[in-house]
């Protein structure tokens, strides 16, 4: 077919050149009139060639069509040959405009078509702090290993590799591996999910980010800010995920109502040690949502998480174990998000406001070395953020987050981890983001970080780029 096409094009080119001879080009070049004539001729030749090319393409397409199957007709009532020939006969626009043919298969049917969606996230940046990062801590909070801030200067952040696909007609699967810049891979998420469970149920199993709260289930590359809010870092070690199962039920109502529950191994923060023979953490959540007219939409939720922690490690800024907690931890979470876009067209302008409230009650034993001492913690945190896309590709955002701890017990030693020193950690950020397309994003964030009594001013410049398959995002 290809060689026929090549020959046909050659023949066409030669034919047109004989029809519109270009010889006078050298001789009469000074003559403006002549030049204009030539230009016109060239244009005509071009259009003619284009027409012929398109005819050739159509011919090819039709040939390819002939080898394809027809619509997998299911009902006997109507035959698939619905392109009643009367169209082409009554076609007043003459032959070059042929009636489009029905087709069945769209893409290539090669085995490669079954490959999962593959994508990678590249992430790096530059960070500036006015205070030394080595002494970073959140006063009054025994945090996990991922609650701290990034490195100074230029740094590569975690790169991410995603594979996702429908496994068969019953299951969907997804794998996300994060690659640490210093080497080593970490399975961030690896789960399977049902596609046709009855009665509006969906079951998920494996390792995955929990559905509690709003921000928690999103991958970091979805965020508009460089870091997660203070309460997410303190209460959920930035992002809570563990090995377990999830059951969701979607109510058969026009207003969105979703109930869900999860049971986890209890190894991940805020759990630890896999209590109750490896089922130490459970949670439940409820989400409602809807639209207000065309321009506004909202979602709100309540979640509760309970865990029994066995020797849960608390870390300092250097990554060393700074204490251990054993006991019960209960977390209550309320969240809401409201989005606006004029007429629901979010391409040029849109706005989003989101806020989450956290309340945690912990009681048990805490200590750096044995013997462990009694500890009771009542801790509260919240954040609110607004992000406004004011023109295509550009957006600005502001965020405020705050923590408050009221700890008691013998484990609360003056100057120790659990001692707030009367300080209330706060952090404010402003971010400007530029997205050339939905696959690339560059952002600059300025923060006033009063997490500790000494205020730190921070600057971060970051790029996040997505290679490969187009991942669709949740609301």
């Amino acid at each position: 077919m290809n060689s026929i096409k090549k020959w046909a094009i050659c023949a066409l080119v030669m034919a047109t050149y004989t029809m519109y001879p270009l010889q006078p080009l050298a001789a009469e070049i000074n003559n403006q009139q002549e030049i204009n004539n030539l230009k016109q001729q060239l244009q005509q030749t071009e259009t003619l060639l284009k027409k012929m090319q398109s005819r050739l393409d159509r011919l090819e397409q039709r040939q390819a069509q002939a080898s394809e199957q027809t619509i997998p007709a299911a009902s006997p009532v109507v035959s698939p040959s619905i392109t009643s020939p009367q169209y082409s006969q009554s076609q007043p626009l003459a032959s070059p405009v042929a009636m489009p043919q029905p087709a069945t298969s769209s893409g290539s049917a090669s085995a490669n078509a079954f490959n999962p969606e593959i994508s990678a996230v590249l992430n790096g940046g530059y960070y500036m702090f006015t205070q030394p990062t080595s002494g970073f801590a959140i006063p009054g909070f025994a945090v996990g290993d991922a609650a701290g801030l990034g490195k100074r200067g230029f740094s590569l952040n975690e790169s991410e590799l995603d594979l996702a696909s429908n496994i068969d007609n019953m299951f969907y699967g997804s794998l996300t591996v994060s690659l640490a810049p210093e080497g080593g891979a970490n399975v961030e998420e690896a789960f399977v999910q049902t596609l046709n469970a009855p009665l509006g149920m969906t079951v998920k199993a494996g390792r995955f980010f929990s559905g509690i709260g709003y921000l928690n289930q999103f991958h970091a590359h979805h965020d508009d800010f460089l870091d997660r809010p203070l309460p997410n870092r303190a209460f959920l070690n930035t992002q809570f995920g563990d090995d377990g199962v999830q059951l969701r039920w979607l109510a058969p109502t026009d207003t969105f109502l979703e109930l869900g529950g999860e049971l986890y191994s209890g190894n991940a923060f805020p759990g630890g040690g896999g209590a109750f023979r490896g089922q130490g953490t459970w949670d439940a959540f409820m989400n409602v949502g809807g639209d207000i007219g065309y321009s506004q939409s909202w979602k709100a939720g309540l979640s509760y998480l309970q865990t029994r922690a066995i020797a849960r490690d608390a870390f300092d800024a250097a990554g060393n174990v700074a204490g251990r907690f054993s006991g019960n931890s209960r977390l209550l979470l309320a969240n809401m998000v409201w989005k606006w876009a004029p007429n629901g067209n979010r391409l040029y302008q849109n706005f989003r406001f989101q806020s989450e409230f956290f309340y945690r009650y912990e009681n048990g034993l805490f200590g750096v070395t044995t013997p462990l001492l009694a500890y009771q913690g009542r801790q509260f945190g919240w954040y609110g953020e607004g992000v406004y896309q004011f023109m295509r590709r550009w957006r600005v955002g502001v965020r405020h987050s705050e923590l408050f701890a009221n700890n008691s017990g013998a484990a609360v030693i003056t100057g120790g981890l659990l001692d707030t020193g009367g300080h209330r950690p706060r952090r404010d950020s402003v971010v400007v983001g530029f997205s050339n397309s939905e696959f690339s994003r560059i952002r600059l964030q300025l923060s006033r970080d009063a997490t500790q009594p000494k205020v730190d001013y921070q600057l971060g410049l970051q790029y996040i780029m997505l290679l490969g398959a187009h991942g669709a995002h949740q609301f």
Binding site: S106, Y348, H473
Partner: protein
Amino acid sequence: MKHHLRMTIYALLTGAIMAGFSSPAWASIRVFACEPEWAALATEIGGDNVSIYTATHALQDPHHIQARPSLIARMRRANLVIATGAQLEIGWLPVLLRQSANPKIQPGKVGYLAAANYVQKLNIPNRVDRVMGDIHPSGNPHIQTDPRNIAIVAAVLLQRLQQIDPAHADAYQARYQDFTGRWNAALQRWQQQAMPLRGERVLVYHKGWAYLLRWLGMVESDALEPVPGVPPTTSHLSSLLSKLKQQPVAMIIYAAYQNSRAAEWLAGRADIKAVKLPFTVGGTDAASDLFGLYDDTIHRLLIAAQAK
């Protein structure tokens, strides 16, 4: 006695489930149409036997929709999802399908209809690279701009409705026959009216008009977007302007949901008309149904062509 008790409990449970899971109009087929043109087509063929929810409207860019909770809730109970397909809805439909917890409308099932799978697609790229912008590897998805494609999809839709709701198969058949009769007449009318447009060269905002232009025998000379999905830049517009001096076009066309600024700017300088076309049902006041969509499209094109 025990047996009776068990029977009573079963009856109560069944009753509760029926009450909880059915709506007043539970006999009707729920159609979830991703774009307004498919909602309009479902109305033509389904009539009173279907209740239709339209996920998007004509002033939204169908490439950029959010998987909102309201859409998930509506898809949960749908019997039939009509999408355009060809990756037009790739940024949101996969999430809806996965979150809807509805086995009936998953791809491959009778309840999932991707219209573009049934028509011959244009602009299938030989090479796919994101440098070329937001291109669709399986071809141009904006098939609804050619009314002959609507006729093809109508037949597929009839089959699906008859399969999902055999009780009303005859009613669907009758409505389909009525629709195709009127549609064929309209097609002839449109093609007669559009004769003067044949051969006209046009600038497009987004490469969303390939099917319309092929149908009417018009020629797309260039697009205002430097590559699909990337907004017009000043440098690209000025290069288009200088090209226009060499090779004039009849008009610039853009869709109702697109920003008119770039088109108006260029039209003003090149002294041609920028024409807003409805693109789908509801895009203009006159495009209130499928017939109005093409009536108004051709009407607007003709006015602009005469003005040149």
